[in-house]
């Protein structure tokens, strides 16, 4: 049986063949890099904001809610809160005394209480004079008792 002589060169050749066979041919290219940053991130973000990318929703899925519906809901909530606060403020101290309406049954003292002239001294003087000449009907039907104090 013939044996192949093992020389230094043959061993070198074996090792070389072995290791080179393990290396891929052709040698793979450099891995793909996800992003390239050739400018500051702030500039890249600003540029991306100016050119929004339209992404189409998948055909078999419902279209996602738009951005307007979110802002509309926020506006509705803000309006509701404002209305609630305004109502509370109106009911608590929003009324001014001069703006209060007259009672419906109309008491005698409230006849001349015109909101415009109620605090006018000339009008008040005139009312008093009329009451003095015509008599005040406020005490009609009432006779004050006479008290005899004796001699």
């Amino acid at each position: 049986m013939n044996k192949t002589p093992l020389t230094e060169d043959s061993l070198d050749a074996m090792f070389s063949d072995f290791f080179k066979a393990k290396m891929q041919k052709p040698w793979p290219a450099a891995p793909a890099t996800p992003t390239v940053r050739s400018e500051p991130s702030s500039l890249a973000a600003a540029r991306a904001a100016q050119t929004p990318v339209e992404v189409e929703a998948p055909r078999n899925q419902p279209v996602a809610a738009s951005h307007d519906s979110g802002s509309k809901a926020r506006y509705t909530l803000a309006a509701s809160v404002a209305l609630l606060i305004g109502t509370c403020w109106t009911l608590s101290n929003g009324f001014q005394p001069g703006e209060r309406s007259a009672p419906a049954n109309g008491s005698p003292n409230s006849v001349n209480m015109n909101p415009i002239t109620a605090s006018d001294p000339a009008v008040l003087t005139k009312i008093r004079e009329e009451n003095a000449t015509k008599g005040n009907n406020k005490n009609d039907g009432f006779v004050p008792p006479v008290i005899d104090l004796g001699p």
Binding site: L6, F19, A21, P28, A30, P31, A32, V36, R37
Partner: protein, 193 residues
């Protein structure tokens, strides 16, 4: 295995940084592969480690990190990745490496030369697995990348005499292995020139 092309994501003109990245890949990727291959004797896994190491380098650049010595950085990352591979569940519980699957015979007849080469490579692999990872690293740099002893000593920061000694020891073990198998006549090869 992740493999990319130069212009996959950069657009047609690319960028200076991408060009620098590809230059580094061209310059150091084979050495990184050799280091990873010497650790586990798995060429595909070594390529995965190589690509992952370069991807991490790119991410470091993206994060604004300044790497003073990319080659040393890449080799260190590749070494750590190769060590982590040993701890992974795939390594412990995964499928057999492709080299072991080579023993599965195809239904189609194969050329005699190819069968002989596969048998020889299996013996070589058995010999290499008996060596320590540093010795395998020297052999990989010597025979896969055709580095001479001086270059290997410089790259690994060891003495040139140590490179010669390890290469000689590897050759002698291989000769013994092959001679005991019966197909070769061992003539006790000398030391590295």
């Amino acid at each position: 295995m992740p493999q990319g092309s130069a212009n996959t994501s950069d657009g047609p003109e690319g960028s200076p940084r991408r060009a620098e990245f590809e230059a580094l890949y061209t310059q150091h990727s084979r050495e990184v592969w050799a280091l990873a291959y010497a650790r586990w004797m798995d060429s595909d896994q070594a390529m995965d480690v190589t690509q992952e190491a370069f991807m991490r380098l790119w991410k470091q650049w993206e994060a604004g990190e300044d790497i003073q010595n990319p080659r040393a950085w890449l080799l260190r990352v590749a070494r750590n990745l190769a060590e982590d591979y040993a701890k992974s569940s795939f390594r412990r519980n995964g499928t057999q490496p492709p080299e072991l699957l080579n023993g599965v015979r195809s239904a189609q007849p194969q050329p005699i030369e190819k069968l002989e080469q596969e048998e020889l490579f299996a013996q070589l692999r058995a010999v290499l697995e008996e060596l320590t990872p540093p010795d395998r690293e020297i052999l990989t740099l010597r025979y896969a990348l055709d580095y001479d002893a001086n270059t290997i000593a410089e790259r690994l920061d060891i003495a040139v005499t140590a490179v010669h000694m390890r290469l000689s020891r590897a050759r002698q073990r291989l000769a013994e292995k092959l001679s005991t198998h019966g197909d070769f006549d061992s003539t006790q090869p000398g030391t590295e020139n």
